[in-house]
Symmetry: C2
Subunit: 340 residues, 2 copies
DNA sequence: GGCGTCATCGCAAACGTTTACGAAGGCTTG
DNA sequence: CAAGCCTTCGTAAACGTTTGCGATGACGCC
């Protein structure tokens, strides 16, 4: 309601001074500044965002791109919820807003982002669920909009990224299983080209080689990252008969437990299981699966810090180019037993 | 990049005409309009949002308030994901943007909303997880910002709402259980004052009365809406020994299955269970629980339609005041058996 | 006392868009 | 043919904010 002119009129000073006082700009008397701040709360004045954005050429808003539609739900819903909560909290402290931008997979991501950039809705954008070759990254590197990816990619260009160490998760998983005596270790992968699966597989292959185990292509499975996919995996494993299986999807794990039950296979004694990401839903499976835990809120804050660093002109460009790998902690579970 | 002035210069016409052409305003020659539209795509022109908002006094953005923090996760993450996807899709078709506004439960909701209104970030706001007495609704009824609630409330005032028919779910649940011969039917409620629990309880009480059954306060339980809460409920039920239990939380149901297993109680034969909302996670429990299904995407679209109706000046005010109760469909499950 | 410096503040021009208003010209109609 | 209307378009003033520039004193110093 209240204008900056109302405020200025009410204080008998110019709007310029009011603006400088509110924005902590130099050149305004301490007493006047105090009066302005006081009057601002009294009148309930908050700067209009459109006017400020227009003048400053910046919206103080960060976009967070979520791909919705088909293959989006690879991370369970609570992952993004926790992440967004932490990110929003951090950004709010810095005076930034957060705008979630659901990009439907049916849309052309390039066109979607093109409009986004041109409209000047956001000062920077975070993109998630990166692909090995990602058209969105291609598009953004050509534009002037700063961006940060949650997830690595092999798309050419120098851009900041934050990712979880799926490679390390796979290595540790193999190591834990091998320590128990497993040799026939199956790998469950998503059936799309999301980067997570790529790194998970690379870690698996490296760790298997380190352990002196030969890779059996018949033990590598690709299924939709869903409960149904996990259920189908149960049948496949009943055929292939590995002594252990590694998974990289929570939903798939839930489905696998049901699928194994139907096949008469007891998780743990009959088939060791290690998966991630740890969450309450998985913790109440029986036997509790061995998982990996990650501090999602920390990732949210990390994203916030680095996306702000991208925007602040005083940081050196090379310092702003984050390449951060977040580790996950191993959580033992009763789902890992020695092989029969 | 490209300005509306660039566009006008490029076409040798005035910016006013360009604006009118782009916005489908009357008073511009069809041929000129075509030329403008063509040049717009050629130069990649998209109207700057800040300038437009400032002039129009509207941002063409809908806010979606999500309460994060403690008691927020009553709905599992995928609920909001599906909802937001559908809502965003609908709004995009109407030229509106969607802004998710996480309001941390630690914040003062009134102050949060006050700033929001004053800043003019959004033209309307949708609030979720309504409480029986909701300070946010109080605040919004006093402001001029149009809003819509997902969930009913008893906060005074005439405001549009959309809600799911939890009352009907409870009635139907009781009816199904009574039809199987159950008389000692337990009720699991959330431990906070979210409206869902209130309506669920009312439906339960009414249906029990209709069936001629007396209410046993010892069979009504309040637990956190989480897996841990459901696990604890398992122990409580082992003490109280009802023949059936009704739940209104997905996470609680998952925890209950684990808790019952620990108590040596077999879901179905030993204790009938009916719960909602149906989702993949629940479908892979064994025995599959009887649940209720709701078309979440439809709710998303419904929200979109009604929030847009709130903003369009040509709709009659009384038509814009939606009070919509969305039904849920009963899905039988093996978790319902006759009592022993 | 004159001069330079500094702190403080007002003035006014932007930022990009929309829109009320008026002007010009073509057309119809009496 | 004049009057009036309609179509089409240009002009310019907003929307609310920030900020460069200049003005006004106050103060210190030679």
């Amino acid at each position: 309601m209240a204008d900056i002119r109302d405020l200025a009129l009410h204080l008998n000073i110019s709007t310029g001074t009011v603006s400088r006082a509110l924005n902590n700009r130099p050149g305004v008397n301490a007493a006047t500044r105090a009066r302005v701040l006081e009057a601002a709360i009294e009148l309930g004045y908050v700067a209009n965002q459109s006017g400020r954005s227009l003048r400053r050429g910046a919206t103080n808003t960060i976009g967070f791109l979520i791909e919705t539609g088909s293959a989006a739900n690879q991370e369970s819903g609570d992952f993004f919820f926790i992440l967004l909560d932490a990110l929003h909290l951090y950004l709010a402290g810095k005076g930034f807003d957060l705008m979630i931008l659901p990009c439907h997979s049916a849309d052309d991501p390039a066109e979607f982002l093109g409009r986004l950039v041109a409209r000047g809705l956001v000062d920077a954008v975070v993109i998630t669920a990166t692909r090995r070759h990602d058209r969105r990254i291609e598009m953004l590197t050509r534009s002037t909009l700063p961006f940060l990816t949650l997830g690595r990619s092999e798309t050419p260009g120098a851009y900041p990224w934050i990712d979880m160490d799926f490679d390390g998760v796979a290595r540790r998983s193999v190591a834990e299983l091998v320590a128990q005596g497993h040799r026939r270790i199956a790998l469950a992968l998503p059936d799309n080209d999301v980067m997570l699966g790529y790194h998970y597989r690379r870690g698996y292959e490296a760790a298997m080689a380190d352990a002196g185990l030969t890779l059996d292509p018949a033990l590598i499975f690709r299924n939709p990252t869903s409960e149904a996919g996990g259920f189908a995996l149960g049948r496949q494993l009943a055929q292939a008969r590995p002594s252990a299986v590694m998974l990289c999807s929570e939903a798939t794990t839930v489905g696998l437990y049901a699928g194994l039950q139907r096949e008469g296979i007891t998780p743990g004694p009959d088939l060791s299981i290690v998966t991630f990401r740890e969450n309450p839903q998985l913790r109440f499976l029986s036997p509790a699966p061995a998982t990996f835990r990650v501090d999602i809120s920390a990732i949210g804050r990390l994203i916030g810090e680095n996306v702000i660093a991208l925007l602040s002109p005083d940081t050196r460009p090379e310092a702003a180019r984050a390449e951060i790998l977040v580790p996950l902690d191993y959580l033992p579970g009763a789902s890992i037993c020695p092989p029969r």
